[in-house]
């Protein structure tokens, strides 16, 4: 089914091979900022599990620990139990709104500086430059035939890639177990299979995504760039080539020959050469631009050399673009940052944070959950009194053993005993010894006279007997036989 158009249109290939990206080394304020961010983020990532934090003898001394095996999450002085997962959910919501805030204020700053894909790609590109040399040498080597020297260089590079990838995976598992113990166990073959599996998977993904996929992840795989475009507006910062100033492009020689005929862009292609995703920013905003601003550094450098003002490529908002085109002065940066949308995002973000901090400060570390046993609802005892059974879950969320008293109120003539106690010695309260940082499950027998309402609400309360008297209580039913029985 040949279409006549086939004669005029080159039939497009169904598949496109990746074009190699060999970013050139550059120095400048944004590059230095990127170095700083890389240093801080990698230090946090690799270093955090090794920070110690003393919690006494009954809890781990790792500052940040996601203890999946024991269902605990430790973060410095905060310990989170599974039923308090809303704190984690709150953190995730804050992270989400934080991203909205950052995006609406400074555009794709997350992509450009802090995203792990960006940081690790940056790291791997430094390895490329270290082993293969500068951009031109890298391109030459890529096109060179497979000589022994090339094989050796490639092998060395892959080895370094794999080492970085392995340490990346190795650092990840340290968040889930005691880091020194796990390191020892890992190297002596005693760690859990899931530890080795996790390291293997993360080594593979880091190796593939950081070593080879790189900008393809941002362009084809990541949903975030596409979501972000919905969050940006005319007040969000973007890396912008000021085409009204730069066009038409011409070299300095041409400009000297025909003064006034050319714009500021000298068409030196430095902005393309330094781009870690291999795009040409002069084509306008595009999905491949992670706004890392390295092209700003490169262009400023060139502008300085040719004696023209900096900022031919610069962070601009769409409003700035319109203003500058109209010959007005752009708004100062702090004014662009403080627009209603960012202020609302910031308000919501800090409100959630403040609410979480407040509730963290208020929470009691003794929790009682009572369940009324329903089979049977009540038991008639031989002396005519009625007994109801309850299952109590008493959570001692402090990292020390505790003594608590369980008592009832609102149930006349009630007697309490546990499965290890006896009715003969029952009183109106029982004492429990709670192990540190644990849930104690107790069956509580409550007997009360048969006279009374068929269904009666009363309160079971747990109260600390050792210093902190705060506790928790639950309102629960007491059932009696129906009258006609």
């Amino acid at each position: 089914m040949a279409s006549p158009d086939d004669l005029t249109l080159a039939s497009p290939s169904l598949y496109a091979a990746r074009k190699g990206v060999y970013p050139k080394r550059i120095d400048g304020p944004f590059r230095r900022f990127k170095w700083l961010v890389m240093l801080v983020t990698l230090a946090i990532y690799y270093g955090t599990p090794w920070i110690r934090w003393d919690r006494g003898p009954y809890a781990p001394d790792q500052a940040v620990l996601v203890d999946l095996a024991h269902r605990r999450f430790y973060m410095f002085q905060i310990e989170i139990w599974p039923h308090e997962f809303y704190y984690v959910a709150g953190l995730l919501i804050m992270a989400g709104i934080g991203l909205f805030l950052v995006t609406s204020a400074v555009g794709r700053a997350w992509c450009g500086y802090a995203c792990p894909q960006t940081v690790w790609t940056d790291l791997f590109q430094h390895v490329d430059r270290l082993i293969d040399g500068e951009r031109n040498a890298q391109i030459r080597l890529a096109n060179a035939p497979w000589t022994l020297g090339k094989v050796a260089r490639r092998a060395l590079k892959v080895a370094i890639y794999l080492t970085i990838a392995f340490w990346t995976g190795g650092a990840w598992i340290m968040y889930f177990a005691d880091a020194p113990t796990l390191t020892h166990d890992f190297w002596t073959g005693q760690a859990a299979p899931v530890a080795y599996g996790t390291v293997a998977v993360l080594t593979a993904t880091t190796f593939v995504l950081g070593g080879f996929m790189r900008e393809q992840v941002c362009i084809y795989m990541c949903p975030w760039p596409r979501i972000q475009t919905a969050m940006m507006d005319e007040k969000s910062l973007m890396v912008t080539y000021k085409d009204w100033r730069g066009e038409p492009r011409g070299s300095t020689k041409k400009a000297l020959a025909q003064p006034g005929a050319f714009g500021d862009c000298v068409d030196c292609n430095q902005c393309v050469a330094v781009c870690p995703t291999g795009i040409d920013i002069r084509e306008g905003p595009q999905i491949g631009c992670i706004t890392c601003a390295l092209c700003i550094d490169a262009c400023d450098h060139v502008m300085q050399q040719v004696g023209r003002p900096r900022g031919l490529i610069d962070y601009c908002t769409l409003e700035d673009v319109a203003a500058e085109k109209a010959g007005e002065a752009p708004r100062p940066v702090w004014k662009t940052l403080l627009h209603p949308r960012t202020l609302i995002y910031f308000g919501v973000w800090s409100a959630i944070g403040a609410a979480m901090l407040f509730s963290l400060g208020q929470r009691t570390r003794l929790d009682l959950a009572v369940q009324h046993e329903r089979s049977p609802l009540y038991v008639q005892l031989s002396d005519g009194t009625i007994r109801n059974n309850y299952t109590l879950k008493v959570r001692n969320m402090e990292t020390r053993p505790r003594r608590v008293a369980i008592g009832v109120s609102g149930l006349a003539g009630a007697e309490l005993w546990t499965e290890t106690g006896r009715r003969e010695t029952a009183t109106r309260r029982v004492e429990l010894a709670l192990a540190p940082d644990s849930v104690t499950r107790v069956r509580l027998f409550v007997a009360a006279p048969t006279t009374g309402p068929e269904r009666q609400d009363f309160t079971i309360a747990a109260r600390g007997l050792d210093g902190d008297p705060r506790g928790d209580s639950d309102i629960i039913q007491f059932d009696r036989p129906e009258e006609d029985e």
């Binding site: 049977p376 007994r387 059974n389």
Partner: protein, 318 residues
């Protein structure tokens, strides 16, 4: 549709050739690694088909060279669980049942295991929570026991059952059918009912209960005791408390005297292993009415050993 392929100016890419309300689609080439990912999934699928059950055949699917099956995996997991439980079960087997409560962890395990067995073998009569069925099966959660509520006694009762005619060690007793067999006439039975109801303070003493007292002393006290305290050696219920297995109103008591039920329970000693029976006893004990073992040498309740209570029986027979 008319083919309207053209080169898009902004991107230099060809359009697909169709258009909806001015919206056109670019024929952007797929990244080549995506194609390789697709090939990889094909290779994966081939490997999967070779290794695992895949093609449905007439009787079953192809087996796969690994020989994996979900049933086999289940068996493996069950074996692993059995192996994991073995130390606990052995420890329970090695512990005399009266000592179980002194070892809280073992006791807890026994209660759990007994609960599981209870839900299979016992709930049909005694109910899912052990509360029994009114006027049919005894409630195991209260503090009233026909044959005794300490661990060893409960264990013996479970192992040997109640009123199993084919088993020598079974709990055995028989209340005469006073009315049905003509031992007492209806008026006498009514008097006896009056007396029994004064024992549990449901009625005030009356002329009828006074006459009933004599009848009770002559016919009932031998098993139920002169004050209606019951007799555990023969499983004679207490008559002076608030708990009535077959009902405590006049009609129910009269019916019981006329034609007693003499309820039966299967013996489990020949169906369940001794550890399961021990755990069942622990579970029943834990339901709320468990009694301490008698301090004195038990004359009424036998002291069954772990494996087979056979030949130990000194339990009351009629």
């Amino acid at each position: 549709m008319v083919d309207q392929k053209r080169i898009d100016e902004a991107t230099g890419t060809s359009t697909v050739g169709h258009e909806w309300d001015g919206i056109e689609e670019l024929n952007t080439p797929l990244p080549r690694w995506w194609l390789w990912t697709f090939y990889l999934t094909i290779v994966w699928a081939i490997g999967y088909v070779i290794l695992y059950p895949a093609w449905p055949m007439i009787h079953s699917a192809t087996k796969g060279v690994l020989g994996w099956s979900s049933r086999g995996q289940l068996e493996q997991e069950l074996d692993a669980q059995t192996a994991r439980r073995a130390p606990t079960l052995n420890a329970i087997a090695a512990t005399p049942i009266a000592d179980l409560p002194t070892k809280p962890q073992l006791m807890q395990a026994a209660v759990q295991g007994g609960g599981a067995a209870f839900r299979v073998h016992c709930v049909q009569c005694h109910g899912s929570g052990g509360a029994g069925v009114k006027k049919l099966y005894p409630n195991l959660t209260d503090d009233d026991w026909l044959w005794g509520g300490d661990l060893a006694t409960v264990q013996y009762t479970i192992a040997n059952g109640i009123r199993n005619p084919d088993h020598a060690e079974t709990r055995m007793s028989q209340m005469p059918a006073f009315g049905h067999d003509g031992i007492l006439n209806p008026a006498q039975i009514a008097d006896a009912v009056s007396f029994v109801r004064t024992l549990s303070k449901q009625e005030k003493p009356s002329a009828s209960s006074a006459r009933g007292g004599a009848i009770f002393a002559a016919n009932c006290a031998v098993c139920h005791g002169p004050n209606g305290d019951g007799g555990r050696t023969v499983g004679a219920p207490k008559l002076n408390d608030a708990i009535w297995l077959y009902g405590g109103d006049r009609d129910s008591i009269a019916a019981t005297i006329t034609q007693p039920r003499n309820g039966v329970m299967p013996r489990w000693g020949n169906r369940l292993d001794p550890v399961t029976i021990k755990m069942l006893a622990a579970y029943v004990y834990s339901l709320g009415g468990g009694e301490k073992a008698p301090v004195l040498a038990a004359t009424s309740a036998p002291a069954p050993t772990e494996a087979q209570p056979e030949g130990q029986g000194s339990n009351g027979k009629p």
